[in-house]
Amino acid sequence: MAKKLTIEFSEEQAMMLDTATAFCSEKSPVAKVRALLETDAGFDAEIWSEIAGLGWQGLAIPEEFGGSGLGLAELVPIIEPMGRHLMASPLVPTTLAAQALITAGTAEQKQRWLPLISAGSAIGTLGLNESHGDWDLTNLICEASIADGQIILTGEKYFVADAAVADFILVSVRLDGNPALVLLDRAAIEQGSLTREVIIDETRRCYRFDLTGISVAASCLLDVEKTMASLDLITRASWLLLSAEIAGGIAGVMDVMIEYLTTRKQFGRYIGAYQALKHPMAEILCQYEYSRSQLYYAASIFDTDKEAEIALRMSKAQGSDTFAHAGDRAIQFHGGFGFTYECDAQLYLRRANWCQYQYGDAHHHRRKLADLLL
């Protein structure tokens, strides 16, 4: 008989969930989401300020740097409703960048950037992916060499979120055969080195980042000794926050589906009365509950070691597959309208694809889980 599994969720987290749910629902109606699709930045700077007012950017940053000193798990009840309402913001990349600095930044780097992030005055992001599409963040083609106190970079990073508006970008490179992280502030980012990517999820902004030709002072390097630990933390944090976005996304696409199924008639009946639609909806509901249980369990034990890895991978795998399936069915169940851009189902289907293929799809995680569990 396996050990007891409990989900910890404090009063504070419950309040956070309430606040965030109300905030996202009010500030991110779907018309707003669609309007932002057409903009360059993809998010609303005013909302970003309001988020700063709520203290979300600094939630998981130590108090000495102006943050609240809480754990990453506290962000889960915030990211989940953001996912549900497709609210755009650079909160996740900024949070991940902050975590990378906390674990591997030099004292000077932390002192410079963390207070700004906590205050909502700086956007940070990460350049970790490469052309091969591999989810192993230590599989690096991009390289760095050091000469005369300068770091010289080559290669291209993919999927750098919100790079065009970021105040700094942390990029991973191979240095002397090992992974290293380098902090590039706006001044270091060459004109024309960013190319906006065309990505499946139009609510996001991602950029290809050509590092070749960039050279910065050696002080931009993060602590090399701590880089592996930092990459590991970023990976885990990404699984957790993506899982939160996914759970919210499933809830959001279910909202869209239920609305249609209870208002659209065909052959004289509401289409939700047909078992061909009702039963798959019930199945999606069950898988959603699984996803959410896995998510909040992973959040509960985020700080443990092997157990957390298992829980996080399960959460990512369960959620990814459920969201992808729900998104797919959402199109189908809307019939002809589902095939149009106007139908909100497509926003979620695209988001579901995005979430599936970022940081490992379900198939990948199950393979890793097999090695951990069998």
Binding site: M1, I7, Q13, A14, L277, C286, E289, Q294, Q318, L374
Partner: protein, 401 residues
């Protein structure tokens, strides 16, 4: 009442030792996985003896009142025993209906006489209880029960039939839902609830052969069967409420059960173990990447089921659709079990075609049997199809069919 952790640990150790020492060796026949699957005298006697032994050791009904045969101890003690029984996978307590349904009901709503008459014999398994809710042709629509009970002096005359009576042919008593007033203003209002004897003239049981080839259920026929009027529990016409109370006991939604596990859960770990020791095409099945992927899916699913129940304890995380997890549990758990057992069968190569009773069948054929038996849960208590309708309509608010 509160004991120190150290005392509880000591008790746990004592329990563990007792079960390690006293659990009988596996018999030379295959045991059932739950009371619903008891099909032979050998199985019955083995399990009844075991329950008696556990009761005599003081490990059953520990929190029930001492004056009726219980232990009069804090519930915590029984919980520790139950956890150890589950952990050690000892055989289950056969008198499940008595321990989990009838007993709690009698303690809650019975007369003093009923308590004196029944409780101790439930614990000792001297008297086995069965359940008479479902009827042929009415599926799981309990409210539609048609078995009639007509009062005649100090007796009721019962006519009708109940189906899926587990242990019906071994039981001394049945908890029986019958219609006393066919003209009541609502169909629920016409029902009454009885603690009926099973060995009375006019009551006959006919064993039902299951798709596994075993017996394990009966159909029970009432032909002008006369039972004493004081078998009634609750008032006449209150049968529906009493039944709902009983079901609440059964679900563990309220306390009051005697404890002791009532079925052997199948865990994915056992299938993993099977995959380690069976060969597929010359290598252990567990080395096959597709088998590994499937096993991981089952492990995830098993954990999801458990985590759902961990999550219900956090109201903030279930507030939007509070009934979603409780109402989907049966669907998900039963379908999970069916698929898991079917998968366990599939690991065995051509030996998957051996069956219970064969000398060489793997694990005594339990996987083949469990796969077949799994349908009792995907069908009984409302089929999976009906469960999905319920979830769609009552939880998601979709329109009715």
């Amino acid at each position: 009442m509160s004991e120190s952790e150290a005392e509880l640990d000591r008790f746990r150790e004592e329990v563990k030792q007792w079960f390690e020492k006293n659990t009988p060796p596996p018999p030379d026949f295959i045991l059932p996985d739950s009371f619903m699957e008891v099909g032979t005298d050998a199985q019955f006697h083995y399990l009844r003896d075991w329950q008696q032994k556990v009761y005599q050791a003081g490990y059953l009904g520990m929190s029930w009142p001492a004056e009726y045969g219980g232990g009069g101890k804090p519930l915590m003690h029984q919980n520790i025993v139950d956890a150890e029984m589950a952990r050690l996978k000892v055989p289950f307590m056969i008198n499940t209906i008595g321990l989990n349904w009838a007993g709690p009901l009698i303690l809650h709503s019975g007369t003093e006489e009923q308590k004196q008459a029944y409780i101790k014999k439930i614990l000792s398994a001297e008297e086995i209880w069965c359940q008479g809710f479902s009827e042929p042709d009415h599926g799981s629509d309990l409210g539609n029960a048609q078995t009639r009970a007509v009062k005649d002096g100090d007796e009721y005359i019962i006519n009708g039939s109940k189906i899926w009576t587990s242990l019906g042919d071994y039981a001394a008593h049945m908890i029986l839902l019958a219609r006393t007033d066919p003209d009541a203003k609502s169909k629920h209002a016409g029902l009454s609830f009885f603690l009926s004897p099973m060995r009375s003239p006019g009551i006959e049981t006919r064993p039902i052969k299951k798709l596994t080839g075993e017996y394990g259920f009966c159909q029970t026929f009432f032909n002008d069967a006369r039972i004493p009027a004081d078998c009634l529990i609750g008032k006449e016409g209150e049968g529906w409420q009493v039944a709902m109370t009983t079901l609440a006991f059964e679900r563990g939604a309220v306390g009051g059960q005697a404890g002791g596990q009532s079925s052997i859960a199948i865990e994915v770990a056992e299938v993993v173990e099977l995959a380690r020791h069976v060969q597929r095409e010359g290598t252990p099945a567990i080395e096959d990447p597709l088998v590994r992927d499937q096993l991981v899916q089952f492990l995830m699913e098993e954990r999801s089921l458990r985590l759902n129940f961990a999550r219900i304890r956090v109201p903030a995380l279930t507030s939007e659709r509070p009934m979603s997890i409780p109402m989907s549990g049966k669907l998900m758990a039963s379908e999970f079990r069916r698929r898991l057992c079917r998968f366990a069968v599939s690991l065995q190569g051509s030996n998957a075609n051996l069956y219970m009773g064969d000398d060489d069948v793997i694990d005594r054929g339990r996987w083949q049997r469990s796969y077949f038996n799994a349908f009792s849960a995907t069908i009984g208590g409302g089929t999976s199809q009906i469960q999905k309708n319920i979830l769609g309509e009552r939880v998601l608010g979709l329109p009715k069919d």
